[in-house]
């Protein structure tokens, strides 16, 4: 894929992606077979252009293999009660050691996502089971964002959130 300019998240977007939202990341093999995995939280380093996601390695084996080989990652963040959905496309994906505060970030994420879904009628046990992973097994995958897209269902879905900096719609837009 072509090299794209990297972007920083504005405070509102940073708050959104690190809140109680559903996070799913995708990549693809060199043969074009897509991979997919749910993440257990997101950290945005203030003042940097990097976003870090947390995964269970057995669940994310294909995704990590593909993303670290190509560097390409697409991540969808969606807030179930409002359907507000943002897709971030990125590059330079690589595994990094967990930093101080990352486990607390995952713990806070589980609580925030559970609250968001319990509000919709799901049980907390259901959400916590979905997000269950031993702390010592968690891995961190970091990448640099290159485009943000509004993916909220509707006519505006697929529009670039920062048109001036985003690449042209094709290829790679949601």
């Amino acid at each position: 894929m072509p090299a794209l300019p990297t972007l920083q998240l504005d405070p509102d977007l940073a708050r959104f992606v690190t809140g109680g939202v559903s996070i799913n990341a995708g990549s693809a093999s060199a043969a074009g077979v897509p991979s997919l995995c749910r993440a257990f939280g997101c950290r945005v380093e203030p003042g940097t252009d990097r976003i870090t996601l947390f995964f269970s390695p057995p669940q994310a084996a294909d995704l990590i293999r593909d993303a670290t080989a190509s560097g390409a990652l697409a991540v969808v963040f969606s807030e179930p009660p409002t359907h507000r959905t943002v897709q971030i496309k990125g590059q330079n994906a690589r595994l990094i050691p967990l930093a101080e505060g990352d486990l607390a970030c995952v713990t806070a994420y589980r609580t925030a996502f559970a609250q968001s879904l319990v509000f919709l009628g799901f049980t907390e046990a259901m959400v916590r089971t979905l997000l269950d992973c031993p702390d010592e097994a968690l891995v961190a995958l970091t990448f640099t964002p290159s485009a943000f897209f509004n993916s909220t269902p509707g006519a505006q879905a697929g529009t670039a959130l920062i048109p001036a900096l985003a690449p042209p719609l094709a290829p790679g837009a949601p």
């Binding site: 894929m1 072509p2 799913n24 990341a25 995708g26 990549s27 693809a28 060199a30 074009g32 077979v33 897509p34 991979s35 997919l36 995995c37 749910r38 269970s56 057995p58 669940q59 190509s70 390409a72 990652l73 697409a74 991540v75 969808v76 969606s78 359907h83 959905t85 897709q87 496309k89 046990a125 259901m126 959400v127 089971t129 979905l130 269950d132 992973c133 993916s151 269902p153 509707g154 879905a157 697929g158 094709a170 290829p171 790679g172 837009a173 949601p174």
Partner: protein, 448 residues
């Protein structure tokens, strides 16, 4: 490979699936999927609602990875698919369209979610995503056991009417389905008419809906089961009854004379066609005030039941041909006493009124009018299904017409109205006309 049942549960659930695709230049894309439908063990369909990046990608690279979550156990699955084609009409499309309307309504997306097509995928591989799970709650009803128990009773029914009773009783007793009805197809008029129901304030026997209308009408037209977990007004039926409607030159204004008996605020509905030799014989319809009440396994069971009911119905129709002729030589019964009741027949739609009360129309109306004419002029009270089938006055649409269902309708309607005219079964394919008071027959527009 994951069990098909688990895959179907995931597709039925309210947790949206996630779709990962890849552009020709290698750029990945992740999107939410509103609705998926299990087709068979090698295929499934996903809703296509917007021409978005997902759709552009799969036209260039048909490989798709779909992430699913089991709604009860939280077990995650990943299904690897290859896009094959998009259907924009037909049974799969119509079934998904009806469901999507429900999902849209449930999620506040009415007007946003619109089905452009059903994307058909081949299932390449499915994997269980390692992770924690919850124990699956035991189902309230074991559909396979309920099906077996229900099916055992159906073939012991001696006629169509008791078959329908056995079916609806069985659904109530063994499936805990409290609201159900059976509608039969009138192929000449492209309408379905209610012949039996359970669980409603009024039976609605005789009420009609056009083929293609609502979940029942679409199920009949497309010959496909339609199961909706979140019912929306888009597929609901008008329940209003036109009190005191102008009855002259009625046309189709009598459509609403007998109100459809459906629930005012249904949560879940399931309509299953009753298969016939060519077009469906009718539709079995169940509903519940509870959302997500009917599972894929319930659908399986009701399809099996409807198939058996269809087979038995066709057997009854074949037996009619062998039915006894009406016995002649039965002494003419003494005419009833009392003031005569005016009975009107309108040839335009074969509607029959007892006094001022609308009773029935269509072929069932013609049957009654024929019986009453013979009773009046010949004093006859004994009739056979077989002779009615051959009688040109009845004007059956064709020889394969479901006369049996029309007699069920007429019998029930007369019984419900506690009319002074009743039908009483006297043997296989034979019945007796009971007339409780003198009648004065008036053909209102015989020349039409």
């Amino acid at each position: 490979m994951i069990p098909i049942r688990a895959l179907r549960d995931c597709l039925d659930g309210v947790i949206p699936g996630v779709v990962s695709t890849c552009a020709p230049d290698g750029t990945p894309n992740v999107a939410y999927m509103s609705q998926g439908q299990y087709l068979d063990d090698r295929h499934l369909a996903l809703s296509y609602q917007f021409f978005n990046r997902t759709h552009q990608n799969l036209l260039a690279n048909p490989r798709v990875t779909l992430g699913l979550i089991h709604p009860q156990t939280a077990q995650q699955y990943r299904v690897h698919l290859t896009y094959q084609r998009t259907e924009t009409e037909g049974p799969i499309f119509e079934s998904m369209k009806a469901k999507l309307a429900g999902i849209a309504s449930h999620t506040g997306m009415t007007g946003v979610f619109r089905l452009l097509g059903s994307d058909i995928y081949r299932l390449e591989r499915a994997e269980v995503v390692p992770g924690s799970t919850l124990p699956a709650p035991p189902p309230a009803v074991d559909p396979l056991l309920a099906l077996r128990t229900c099916m055992e009773r159906l073939p012991t029914s001696p006629d169509a009417e008791s078959l329908l009773d056995a079916l609806l009783d069985g659904l109530q007793t063994h499936f805990a389905i409290e609201h159900a009805l059976v509608m039969m197809l009138d192929p000449r008029r492209d309408r379905l008419y209610t012949v039996a129901s359970r669980g409603y304030a009024t039976s609605g026997v005789g009420s009609e809906i056009p083929v293609g209308d609502g979940v029942i009408g679409v199920a009949a037209r497309e010959r496909v089961p339609i199961r909706i977990s979140h019912v929306t007004s888009e597929y609901a039926y008008g329940l209003a009854m036109r009190e005191g409607a102008e009855r002259q030159g009625m046309g189709d204004r009598l459509e609403t004379e007998i109100p459809f008996p459906g629930l005012a605020s249904p949560g879940s509905q399931l309509a299953v066609p009753i298969p016939g030799a060519r077009e469906p014989l009718g539709v079995l319809f169940v509903e519940s005030p509870t959302e997500m009440r009917f599972t894929h396994a319930d659908e399986d069971a009701l399809v099996a039941l409807a198939t058996q009911v269809g087979g038995l119905f066709r057997l009854f129709l074949a037996e009619l041909e062998l039915g006894d002729e009406a016995q002649s030589g039965i002494p003419r019964e003494p005419p009833p006493a009392g003031p005569p009741l005016r009975v009107r027949h309108y040839a335009a739609n074969d509607s029959v009124f007892l006094g001022d009360d609308y009773l029935i129309k269509g072929v069932a109306g013609n049957i009654l009018w024929t019986l009453l004419q013979d009773h009046q002029t010949l004093g006859r009270t004994q009739f056979s299904n077989r002779e009615l089938r051959a009688d040109p006055r009845v004007r059956l649409p064709d020889q394969s017409d479901n006369l049996e269902a029309r007699l069920v309708l007429l019998h029930r309607r007369l019984a419900e109205r506690q009319a002074c005219v009743q039908l009483e079964k006297t043997g296989r394919g034979r019945f007796r006309l009971l007339v409780g008071r003198p009648l004065s027959l008036e053909d209102m527009d015989a020349g039409v």
